[in-house]
C-alpha cells in the first residue's frame, strides 16, 4: 500500500494523466468461465482422439450432434413430374396470353406470323451421308491405307548418283591436297624472289599490275621516261668533281626505303 502511494505521488509530481485514473482491473472473463473450463478442455482432448466424425462432433458441440438429420423442407409427391404441365396451364390461363394475337395458334402458325423467312425454310438437313457410311468407315480406311503405300526410291540404287558424290569428294580431296602439299619450302630471307613467285602463283598478273600501279605513285623517281642518254647529254658540261659532290650530298636519299641494297645493309 505504501509503495502504491509512493508511485501515485511520483506520478502526481510528474504531472502525469495516469495519476487521475482509478485503480481498477479493465479485463474480465464471462460468467462461469472457469467453472466449465475443465470440461471444455477435456472434451477438446477427447475430440482429438475420436474414432469418427459423429463422436468428434458430440464432444465439440453436443447441441449440433443431437440435431435431427431430417430435411426441414419437403415437396409433395409427383411435384416435378407435373410441374411443366402446371406451368403451361398457368400461362394459358394468364390474362396476357389470352389477349395476345397468337392466342389459339399452333407453334407453326405463330412462326409464320413472326418470321415468314424462317418458316419458309425447309426442315430437311442439307447434308447427308450414303447409306451404311459409318458402318463401313473403319474398313474403308484400312483398305485405303493399304493401297496408298509410298513408293520407296533408294538413293543407293542409282549408280550415277554414287559416281556424282564420288566426283565431288574427289574434287575436294584433290584441291585440298594441292593446297596442303605446296611444294618445297622456300625461305624468303634467302630466296626472296622465289618465295614471292611461289606464293603469288595463283594471283593474276592483272591484280599485281593494279597493285603496282598504285604503289608507283609513291615512288620518288618521277623521271622514268628520261633515258640515260638524255642525262649524259644534259650533264656533259658539268665537271666530274661537281657531280660527285652533289652525289655525296644526296646520298642519304639513296638510303631510302626503295633502295634494296641499303635496306639489306641496315637490316644486317
Amino acid at each position: 500500500m505504501t509503495q502504491n502511494n509512493n508511485i501515485l505521488q511520483e506520478l502526481k509530481e510528474l504531472e502525469s494523466s495516469l495519476a487521475g485514473l482509478a485503480a481498477q482491473n479493465i479485463y474480465s472473463v464471462p460468467d462461469g468461465y472457469f467453472e466449465g473450463l475443465v470440461g471444455q478442455v477435456l472434451n477438446r482432448i477427447k475430440a482429438m482422439e475420436a474414432a469418427n466424425a459423429a463422436e468428434e462432433l458430440g464432444y465439440l458441440s453436443p447441441m449440433l450432434s443431437n440435431m435431427s438429420k431430417q430435411l426441414p423442407y419437403a415437396v409433395p409427391a409427383g411435384y416435378f413430374e407435373s410441374l411443366e404441365e402446371k406451368l403451361m396451364q398457368t400461362v394459358r390461363n394468364s390474362n396476357d396470353y389470352l389477349h395476345k394475337e397468337s392466342f389459339g395458334q399452333t407453334a407453326t402458325e405463330e412462326l409464320e406470323m413472326l418470321s415468314p423467312l424462317l418458316s419458309g425454310l425447309k426442315k430437311e438437313m442439307p447434308y447427308s451421308v450414303p447409306q451404311g457410311y459409318f458402318e463401313n468407315l473403319a474398313a474403308d480406311i484400312n483398305t485405303q491405307a493399304n493401297k496408298t503405300e509410298t513408293k520407296v526410291v533408294s538413293i543407293g540404287s542409282r549408280k550415277w548418283f554414287r559416281f556424282a558424290a564420288a566426283a565431288v569428294i574427289t574434287g575436294v580431296i584433290v584441291m585440298v591436297g594441292f593446297m596442303v602439299i605446296d611444294g618445297p619450302k622456300v625461305d624468303p630471307g634467302t630466296n626472296s624472289h622465289a618465295w614471292v613467285e611461289k606464293k603469288l602463283k595463283k594471283v593474276s598478273t592483272e591484280k599485281i599490275e593494279e597493285f603496282i600501279q598504285l604503289t608507283d605513285e609513291e615512288e620518288l623517281v618521277a623521271s622514268k621516261d628520261i633515258k640515260t642518254q638524255d642525262i649524259k647529254e644534259l650533264m656533259k658540261d658539268v665537271p666530274e668533281n661537281e657531280i660527285q659532290s652533289l652525289l655525296n650530298d644526296t646520298q642519304f636519299l639513296d638510303d631510302g626505303m626503295a633502295d634494296d641494297a641499303a635496306a639489306e645493309t641496315m637490316m644486317n
Binding site: A167, G171, L200, T205, L214, M267
Partner: protein, 139 residues
C-alpha cells in the same frame, strides 16, 4: 551420257569453287604480311600481335595512296606520317631497332612483285622478246 556430263561438270564446279577462293583482293596483302613476318623471323607470339596492326596499317596505306594520287609530294608526306605513326606500334612488338624493317621489307616485297610482273609479261611475249629487258632500271 547426260549423267556422265553431269558428274564431270560437278567435279569441275567443285574444284573451281575451291580454286576461286585463292584469287581474292586480299591475297597480295596477306602474302606481304607473311613475307615481312618470315623475313623478320617473328616468333609466333610476335606474329599474332603484329598481324592486326599490319592489316590496319596496310588499309590506311592503300587509302593514302588512292586518295593522294594527284600530288606526289603530298602523297609521300602522308605515307611518311602514317609510317611514323605505325612505327610506334610496331616498336612495341619488335623493338625500336627493328621497327623500320617492316617498311624496308614492304618495299622489298613490292620490288619483287614488279620483277614477277616483268617476268610474266616476258613469258607472255614469247622467247624472242625475253632477251630484251624492259625494266625501268635497265633504261
Amino acid at each position: 551420257m547426260k549423267k556422265i556430263l553431269f558428274i564431270v561438270s560437278l567435279f569441275l564446279v567443285t574444284t573451281n569453287a575451291l580454286m576461286a577462293q585463292d584469287d581474292g583482293d586480299d591475297k597480295i596483302r596477306d602474302k606481304m604480311r607473311e613475307y615481312i613476318q618470315q623475313r623478320m623471323r617473328l616468333s609466333k607470339n610476335e606474329a599474332e600481335k603484329f598481324s592486326p596492326i599490319f592489316l590496319r596499317y596496310f588499309r590506311e596505306w592503300r587509302t593514302a595512296l588512292k586518295d593522294n594520287q594527284g600530288d606526289r609530294l603530298i602523297l609521300q608526306q602522308k605515307v611518311v606520317e602514317l609510317r611514323l605513326r605505325y612505327r610506334n606500334e610496331f616498336k612495341e612488338i619488335v623493338g625500336e631497332k627493328r621497327s623500320n624493317e617492316v617498311y624496308l621489307n614492304q618495299e622489298k616485297f613490292i620490288k619483287e612483285l614488279k620483277d614477277l610482273r616483268r617476268e610474266r609479261i616476258q613469258n607472255r611475249q614469247g622467247p624472242k622478246n625475253r632477251i630484251r629487258d624492259i625494266s625501268p632500271q635497265s633504261i
